[in-house]
């Protein structure tokens, strides 16, 4: 057993004490006038800034920690602060101390693989965050026009229906919207898991999952899924479960954005998922009403649009030019020396609708802010079409230019097939009474829909998706029954993977499907189809 020598201890203590500042400490204070519902009104604090963190050293919570808060309202004769901790510890007359620190979070590589609260404190019991960190403000202005680039690189979700029909590019903001229990979170988690592919490349995508107002058990479950799939090592979870106070739920997405910006501004790629912004809007409404800001539509405050637009504007593709990027607006001091161009921050906000009502206030706001949306539909979900993406109403406004070439070519047929199928779907029940061409279209459509089904946590690499779509494009699936499609998919991908490993790797790198390999794929598909038909 190793022993600690007393002189070693005193040496350490001396070292600690040597840096101790003996000068008098100067700070500004105020006094609590009234407190309630997580809000305190403070007299004094005359020089305080909006958004600044304050400390209440007299108010101790059950663990003995001082309560902290954030200044939100600056009024003529008092200051409105929101409390992060329990407001029952705060009493009238308690001192409020300025920290001179605008709400910020310590960000660094050490955050990957961790679960933190919106103020950057780890809550996974693995100790303090290790490694170098930079202090970044939660609220930061989005990069200006000259520091941005159009979206050109794809962000593969690993979901066939999204990557082919509603492609997402790095730097894009794509909304995931749907009722409860339609698989919104599943789409987001699949996307995170699929970024494992990129970790081997020179452009890895770091992921941030912001859980706002969710059940603690759900967050724990998500973490376990990510860990089981080896995705936690490049992911940070910012957790503000339903049990936390409204201010923390309100700032959680901003904390996620700040972490994403760290990667974005250092020339790397990040994906941030805000799950979900409707709950954040509710938390903000709660705060605003308690602060006596005037309510507007659905009792949300007037600036709820700005709340989401300023958050989502921070998702961007930064210009691939270090010199220009270094002049970017509002770079915090700690980050200045590290800024590089070419990075990106992709945002996937999630919105939960009530009974499919997308014309409510918050959904329409966020739809108009984002570069497209993925609609998830309860009926499709119940029909067993999972992911339950309604390809008719889902769009991606900028992702098309970021799509892999061959995928773009193949998705054309897919879109057409599905559109025609949707039109004729209502007639499907007439069955054999229909004419031959209608029947053929229905047959193709049914198979395409079946092909786009995909299991949870089973993202497909882009080359496998291309191979499958190539087979569909050739109309080969019509030779199979709908029930055999899944079996075909499995066997086909296995065979192609074994026989043409090199070509698949090349396809994954270049994204171009050459004619020879295309023919080889068709040959394999035909033989697999024959084999399946022979066994049945």
């Amino acid at each position: 057993m190793s022993q600690v020598r007393p002189d070693e201890v005193s040496a350490i203590l001396r070292k600690q004490l040597s840096g101790f500042d003996k000068e008098a400490d100067t700070y500004d204070v105020g006094t609590v006038l009234e407190v309630g519902d997580g809000i305190a009104r403070v007299y004094g604090l005359s020089k305080v800034q909006a958004g600044e963190l304050v400390e209440l050293p007299d108010s101790k919570d059950q663990k003995g920690n001082s309560v902290t808060g954030m200044v939100l309202n600056l009024e003529e004769d008092n200051v409105g602060i929101v409390l992060f901790g329990s407001s029952s510890a705060v009493e009238e007359g308690h001192t409020v101390k300025r920290t001179n620190d605008i709400a910020s979070i310590n960000v660094g590589e050490g955050l990957l693989g961790r679960v933190i609260d919106p103020l950057g404190k780890p809550i996974d019991g693995k100790g303090a965050v290790t490694g170098d960190t930079v202090r970044l403000p939660l609220e930061r202005k989005a990069p200006g026009v000259i520091y941005r680039e159009p979206v050109t690189e794809p962000l593969q979700t690993g979901l066939k229906s999204i990557d082919s029909l509603i492609p997402i590019g790095r730097g894009q903001r794509e909304l995931i919207i749907g009722d409860r229990q339609t698989g919104k979170t599943a789409v987001a988690i699949d996307t995170i898991i699929n970024q494992k592919e990129t970790q081997k490349t020179d452009k890895p995508v770091h992921c941030i999952y912001v859980a706002v107002g969710q059940k603690g058990s759900t967050i724990a479950n998500i973490r376990k899924v990510l860990e089981d799939n080896g995705a936690m090592e490049y992911t940070t979870i910012v957790a503000a479960p339903a049990s936390t106070s409204a201010p923390l739920r309100y700032i959680a997405p901003f904390a996620g954005a700040a972490i994403g910006e760290y990667f974005r501004d250092t020339g790397r790629h990040a994906l941030v998922i805000y799950d979900d912004l409707s709950k954040q809007a509710v938390a903000y409404r709660e705060l605003s009403l308690l602060l006596k800001r005037p309510p507007g539509r659905e009792a949300y405050p007037g600036d709820v649009f700005y709340l989401h637009s300023r958050l989502l504007e921070r998702a961007a593709k930064i210009i691939d030019n270090d010199e220009v990027a270094q002049k970017m607006n509002n770079i915090p001091d700690g980050l200045k020396s590290k800024v590089k161009g070419g990075g990106s921050l992709t945002a996937l906000p999630v919105i939960e609708t009530q009974a499919g009502d997308v014309s409510a206030y918050i959904p329409t706001n966020v739809i108009s802010i984002t570069d497209g949306q993925i609609f998830l539909d309860t009926d499709l979900f119940n029909q067993g079409i999972r992911p339950a993406i309604d390809v008719g109403t889902s769009v991606s406004r900028v992702g098309g230019s970021a799509q892999v070439k061959s995928m773009k070519k193949l998705s054309g047929t897919l879109k057409l097939d599905l559109a025609q199928y949707r039109e004729l779907e209502a007639f499907a029940k007439f069955g054999s009474d229909l004419d031959a061409s209608t029947q053929a279209q229905l047959r193709t459509g049914e198979r395409t829909v079946e092909l786009l089904k995909q299991g949870e946590y089973q993202p497909l690499p882009v080359e496998q998706q291309i191979a499958l779509l190539k087979v569909n494009d050739e109309g080969l699936l019509n030779k199979l029954e709908v029930t055999q499609i899944q079996e075909f998919e499995e066997q086909f991908l296995e065979t192609v993977g074994i026989k043409h490993e090199e070509e698949m790797n090349a396809l994954s790198d270049s994204g171009v499907l050459n004619d020879t390999f295309g023919e080889q794929i068709i040959e394999i598909a035909k033989s697999v189809i024959d084999q399946i038909n022979a066994t049945n």
């Binding site: 600690q16 008098a24 100067t26 004769d77």
Partner: protein
């Protein structure tokens, strides 16, 4: 003390008028008399603030209390306040007036927090040093808090300069704890 906008306006008006007529010091004396009376008599404050008591009764009472003790200007001022039905603001108005007078004369008030009562000499030294630093006349008040253990903290306006032993120990504790968690 939180002072309403109206009280600020009334106080400003009185100070301006006093400046014009060059009776600032005399007015301050009268106002301090009113302030002292209100502070020492809770009954008077409750009486002035009570919405049940009729305004003319309040006017009569104020007249009886201060009528012959204050200058002509302040006397008329109280009558004006009474006529405008602002008697309930009287305590705020006198408070605001003293604040405004101090700002006008360049006087600041400082609170000194200490563990043990300071001697006359120490107080004088603290006062002189503060006046030197702030370049203003300092109105010193001492607050004894034994748990500070030693040292001194000075509060001017909202700003605290803290050099107490208690605060130092707290800082040291934070430093050790943050080093331990790293």
């Amino acid at each position: 003390m939180l002072v309403t906008k109206a009280a600020h306006r009334y106080a400003t008006a009185l100070l301006e008028l006093a400046k014009e007529q060059d009776v600032v010091e005399q007015t301050l004396e009268d106002i301090l008399l009113i302030k002292g009376t209100i502070e020492s008599s809770r009954d008077l404050l409750v009486f002035l603030r009570s919405p049940v008591i009729k305004p003319d009764k309040k006017v009569a009472a104020l007249e009886a209390i201060f009528g012959d003790k204050v200058s002509e200007l302040v006397h008329r001022y109280i009558t004006l306040i009474a006529r405008k039905n602002r008697q309930n603001l009287l305590d705020e108005i006198v408070f605001a007036f003293v604040e405004k007078y101090n700002a006008y004369k360049g006087i600041i008030s400082a609170e000194v927090y200490v563990a043990n009562e300071l001697s006359e000499k120490q107080l004088k030294e603290v006062k002189e040093r503060l006046e030197e630093v702030t370049n203003k006349t300092v109105n010193l008040s001492t607050i004894v808090q034994e748990d500070l253990k030693g040292g001194m903290a000075v509060k001017i306006g909202d700003t605290v300069t803290n050099a107490t032993v208690k605060h130092k120990l707290k800082q040291l504790e934070d430093e050790f704890l943050s080093a331990a968690s790293e």
